[in-house]
Structures are given as structure tokens and as C-alpha cells.
Amino acid sequence: MKKKYSGIEKKLSRWGWYFVTPSLIFFMLFSFYPIINAAYISLFRKKILSLKAPDFLGLGNYKYLLSSSDFWNSMRATFVFTLGTFIPLVIVSLLLAVLIMGRNKGKKFLQLAYYSPAVLSSVVAAVIWMMIFDPRGIANQWLNFLVNTPGVDHLWLAKSFMVQFSTMLVYFWKYIGYFVVIFIAGLASIPHSLYEAAKIDGAVPRQIFWRITLPLLKPTVLLVSIMAMLQCLKTFGTQYLFVQAGSPQAPINVITLNIYNTGIRDHLLGRASAMSIILFVIMLFFTWLQFKTSKADDVDY
């Protein structure tokens, strides 16, 4: 039976709508409408400069993509990058957060230091790292010093494997601090009394981490893993700049880069839209899968 609102409740609900409306409009204009529009355009042979009405292809763009080796290479590049980046990101950021929380001094400084790369744009980060990865840059110098291989060019931006690894390294460096801060917020919300009780019961730090911290941090782990995965699937700036700087494209031709090239360079907006819809579905699916497999509801302390 429909609940009837009256008095203060009615007023509150009206004000709720007023506050939510701007963000709803923003979402509809800049997120929902582009998605619907892209889905629509993906059904046409739409060229970006053409003023003529585009031909209707139905699922033609999707059929083409599913039989295109270039598209499947992009899928491979995207998944290699995502797996190679988001798993270390989640694990290392969790460990760093626990380490930072365990310190008595310098907590704020470490948070700030780890977080600082996150405020840089991807473009600036990639430019900095391009200088580091330059054959005469410090990446070669440091690695050669560490492994005692003077004068070896490790071809950071050139070899197929190395250029993939380099993009992962840039992304990892850029976002690790961001996720550390989220984990720290999650850790801070776990009641201290639980740790005290565990210590009184004789639990060692390893047991405390596995039996108390990690289970109670499950919602944060889920949030971080979804955010990290979605960020990785959407990666673009680093790969784009590396290719512009002369790196081979095929190893790092992630879906977003392929979308950009297909739409902007090749002018094929319909095909680029089809690719973006496929990426959207993939992201939706993995987000759903993570929710489903984690079974993480609210945690009671």
C-alpha cells in the first residue's frame, strides 16, 4: 500500500527533490544522454564530418568489431593492463594503508606523499614518465645501477613487453595514493575496541589482520576493487601519449585508444560508438560480478 506523506515528511521529501535535481540533470545531460546517443549512433555508418543522413547498419558495426583482429587485440591489451594494474593496486594500497595506520608518527605526511601523484593529470604524469623512460633517462640509469648492467637500454617505450609494463607502472604510481587514502578511511572506521579485545585475547598482528581487519574492511575492499578496475578499463591518457612519443601502438592499443582513433582519426563515429557500448557493457558486467561474488552487505561492528 502506498505510503501517504504529510506535514514535515512532505516538506522534507520536496526539499530532497530540490537538492537532488541539479545532480540528476547533470547526470542525464552528461552521462545518460551520451550513453543513449552512443547506443543509437552505433547502429549507423556515421562519419564525423558528413552532413548527410547516415546509413542504418543495424548491428553491422558490432558484427564488424567482433570479427576484427584489431578489436580483439584491443580487448587483450585492455585486459592485460587491467589485470596487471588493478590487482597490484588493490593489494599494495591495502598493505600500505595498514602500515601507515600502524605508525604513530608521520601518518599525515605519508598520506600526503602517496596521494600527491593522484592530483596530477594523466597527461602530466605521462610526460614526467616519458622523460624517465627516455633511453637516456633515469629509468635505465637506476635499473642498470641496481642490477649492475651498465649501458643496457631496457627499451621501456619500445619493446612490446616493456611498453605494457611501463604503462602499468605509470598508472600504479599515479593511483596508489588515492586508494591508500580510501583504505585508511575504511580502517579508521573499524572500532578500536575490537583490536583491544583481540589483543587481550592474545591475538598476534597477523591474526588481527586476517581475522578482524580484512573481514571488517570488506566493503572498502569491494569499493576500491570496483573503482580501480573501472579506472583501469577506462585508461587512455598514458597510452595515447606513449604512442605519440613513438611507442609501438599494438601492445598498448587499449579499447579507449582504439575508440579515439576510430572516431577521431578514421572519422568512423558509428563504429567508435559501438566499441564504447561494448566497453560499457563489459564494465557493467564486471561491476555486477564483483558485487555478486563478494556478497558484501553492510558490516556490523
Partner: protein, 430 residues
């Protein structure tokens, strides 16, 4: 219902700006937007032309906006996609052709540009240079510059490597390898001085001619078949594989652009490929080096077993006018373009840009420009770069093939097979 009305009203109010559109003004003052790529030497000239043009036409304001040449194609495309392109723009013909093919640019307004007829216009320019911008008998652009590339030589680096630049300068690609091997300096595998640097991102301009020297072609004459003459392509790809870090290790696209290092004369770049405009940039960047005479320009090399005498392809930057602007604005835009292009001798002497009119090519200014003869001779042996709606994609496929053999150690045969299939697919979809 009461709730819906204010929400709907708010939505309509917020959406109003989306539908706002100015009426084109047919009378009164107008503003012409002019997008072009960055070139400090040219900026000084064109800012002056703008002032002069505005003084002569008080109701006209010209807004000149510059962006890097790499960014410009993307910015133009997105602006035109939103039907918000500038009045005037220039872009390389490989990118610009799509604007003509899709009817986004207006034909040259002959009266405003100062010509009595299309044939009068074509007669003013060197034969063939307007072909790329001619469709259905109309001309859609006027060249800001026609550029080909030739190697610039740093004589000091040659002498430092024990070479005599006047005698030992390279005539063939095999010579380029030989002198580069003498000039290259390394710390281990890491190159600290290169003998020569290719213009890596621009494969259609500098590398397709190398294939053509060997008898190959990018696209058949009828435009239906891609990658002609496997043997020529294979020889070229083997040459490039040998050049890279897996071969003789003489350079790669991941090192800094040679033409940027060349001007600084820091003993790290022996030769680089560039256009006539590089002379003005050497003068601007390093006056001492420019005045020293320790640099020179040599003809585009040939392969020893070349079957065709082909020099670097040339590309044109053409001024074009947005077809979606009002007729008055288009007319003023062509008047302004015509005014700028009436200073072609100044463009040549101050910026090093060749605006290929017959008058300029036979002028004393052109004859007196240093190394103008080298570029002119090469120009006669070259052809317009491959341009089509798919040229950017074809260039990307060439990049993939060349960098595959150069950097990733892919066998030339495999890279060629992949290039053939993919390039043919692009042509078939056209």
C-alpha cells in the same frame, strides 16, 4: 502534478542555452576566427597582416588562434563535428581532404581572392599543386605552404667523426647508414649522438618515397590495390629493421626528435630531415650556429639499386574557409586569406615557407634563398603525399609495420603480410 511542473520548468530553463544560436550578421561589424598551427616566425608576420587588414576594413576583426600542429587536426574535427568550426583554418592535405569530400569547406571566392576565373587562379600556381584541393572543377583551398623534406647536415659533427662533410655527405640510404655508423656515439647500447634521424610519425611523406625508389607503391594507380611490389616493401622493411635497436642500433622513434636537437648544435645530432622552414628556426634558435655556416642541406638520398628517382613527398598546408558561415563572412575570409598570401616573398624570406605560385618560384627572392635550389630540385622529383579520407589510417598501418620490425623484432615478411591485409581492408571499405 504540482511537483512535476516546477521540475519541468527548471529543466526547460536549464536547457535553453543548449538551443541558443546566433543569427549570422550580413551587415555591420563581423569577427572572423582564424585557426592555425604554431610557428613563431609566421605569427609575427600574420599578426602584422591582421592589423593592416583590420585598418583597411574597420568593420572586420580577425581572431587568430594557434595550437600545436599535432593537436590541430583533432581540434578542428571536434569543432566541425559540433558545427562550430572557425571561419578560416589550415591543415595538412592528408587531414584537410576529408573536409572537401564532406562539403564542409567553401570553394574559393574568386572575386574576393582577386582572380577572374578558376583557370586564372590555377595559372597563378605551379602546375598540379591545386589538384589536391580541386573537386568538380572548383578549388577549395589556397596553399599556405608546400613543403618537402631534405637532410640537414651538421658539418661540425661530421668533422668530429673524422668525415669531410663536403665530400662524405651521403648520397644514398646505404651512405646514410655508413656515415651514421661513424658518427654514432653510445654509452653501452644507449645512443648519445645519432648520425641521422627519420621523421618517424610522418611515414607517408618520408618513407613511402623510399619504397617507391625501389619500385614499390603504396596504392595502385586505380586506387583499388594496396601495397604494390612485395620485394620493394620487403627491402625497405629489412632496411628499417637493420636501423633499429635490434639491428645496427642507429636510432628509434623513442629518442627525441632530431630536428629539435639539430638547431641546438650540442654534438648529439649529425643529420635530420626537415623542410626549408628549418632554416628560419635555426636562425631563431641558435644565431651563432646559423651564422657559422657549419650546416648545409643535401638532396633526399636514393637507394643504390633504386629503379625510380624519387625524392621526399611534399605536403600542402591549405587555407580553407568554413562552408557553414554566412556568404559575407566567407567573402571577407577569402579577402583576408588573399591579403596574407599576397606576401609570399616575405613568407619565404622570413619563415621559409614556399607558397608555390609561379611568380614566387621564378622570383629573385626564391633564387637567393639558401638551399632553395636543393628543395626545388627535390620538389620536381617528388609528388603530393598520399591523401584520401583514409590516409591517416594508412599512415597508422605503415607505422605499425615499420615500428614492428624496428622496435618489436617482428620479421619483415610477417609485418608486410599484416600491412598488406590491413591496408587492403581499409581501401575496400572506402
Amino acid at each position: 502534478m504540482k511537483k512535476i511542473i516546477p521540475i519541468l520548468l527548471t529543466l526547460i530553463f536549464l536547457a535553453l542555452p543548449l538551443f541558443a544560436a546566433g543569427q549570422p550578421e550580413e551587415e555591420g561589424s563581423i569577427t572572423i576566427t582564424f585557426w592555425t598551427h604554431e610557428d613563431p616566425n609566421r605569427t609575427a608576420l600574420e599578426e602584422r597582416y591582421i592589423k593592416e587588414f583590420e585598418a583597411a576594413n574597420p568593420d572586420v576583426t580577425i581572431e587568430r588562434v594557434t595550437n600545436s600542429s599535432k593537436k590541430m587536426p583533432e581540434l578542428l574535427l571536434t569543432a566541425f563535428a559540433a558545427n562550430e568550426g572557425p571561419h578560416i583554418f589550415n591543415t595538412q592535405i592528408e587531414d584537410g581532404y576529408a573536409y572537401i569530400a564532406n562539403g564542409r569547406v567553401a570553394p574559393v571566392n574568386l572575386k574576393a581572392a582577386g582572380y577572374s576565373s578558376t583557370s586564372d587562379l590555377k595559372n597563378a600556381y605551379v602546375d598540379g599543386v591545386l589538384n589536391a584541393v580541386t573537386e568538380g572543377g572548383d578549388v577549395y583551398g589556397l596553399p599556405l605552404e608546400l613543403t618537402n623534406w631534405a637532410p640537414y647536415v651538421n658539418k661540425r659533427v661530421f668533422r668530429d667523426a673524422g668525415l669531410d662533410p663536403e665530400k662524405d655527405y651521403p648520397k644514398t640510404w646505404e651512405d646514410i647508414v655508413a656515415v651514421s655508423e661513424k658518427m654514432v656515439l653510445r654509452k653501452g647500447d644507449i645512443i648519445t649522438r645519432r648520425g641521422f634521424d627519420f621523421r618517424f610519425p610522418y611515414y607517408l611523406v618520408s618513407m613511402v618515397p623510399m619504397v617507391e625508389q625501389l619500385g614499390g607503391k603504396l596504392v595502385s594507380d586505380d586506387g583499388k590495390t594496396a601495397i604494390i611490389n612485395d620485394k620493394a616493401w620487403l627491402t625497405f622493411l629489412e632496411f628499417m629493421a637493420d636501423w633499429g635497436p635490434n639491428g645496427k642500433n642507429l636510432g628509434s622513434p623513442t629518442y627525441k626528435n632530431g630536428r629539435k636537437l639539430f638547431n641546438m648544435d650540442n654534438n648529439d645530432m649529425g643529420m635530420c630531415l626537415s623542410g626549408l622552414y628549418q632554416i628560419g628556426r635555426i636562425r631563431a634558435d641558435n644565431k651563432e650556429f646559423y651564422d657559422s655556416g657549419d650546416w648545409m642541406v643535401i638532396p633526399f638520398p636514393q637507394f643504390e639499386n633504386a629503379v625510380e628517382d624519387v625524392a621526399s613527398a611534399y605536403y600542402g598546408h591549405y587555407y580553407m574557409v568554413n562552408n557553414q558561415k554566412s556568404s559575407r563572412e566567407q567573402e571577407v575570409a577569402w579577402e583576408f586569406i588573399s591579403y596574407m598570401l599576397s606576401h609570399s616573398e616575405e613568407y619565404l624570406s622570413e619563415v621559409g615557407l614556399i607558397q608555390p605560385t609561379k611568380a614566387l618560384m621564378s622570383s629573385e627572392t626564391f633564387k637567393n634563398i639558401p638551399y632553395g635550389d636543393v628543395f626545388a630540385n627535390d620538389l620536381a622529383k617528388g609528388h603530393m603525399v598520399y591523401y584520401a579520407e583514409n590516409s591517416a589510417k594508412i599512415q597508422e598501418l605503415m607505422k605499425e609495420a615499420v615500428e614492428g620490425v624496428l622496435l618489436s623484432g617482428i620479421a619483415p615478411e610477417k609485418a608486410l603480410a599484416s600491412l598488406k591485409v590491413k591496408a587492403q581492408e581499409v581501401l575496400d571499405q572506402q
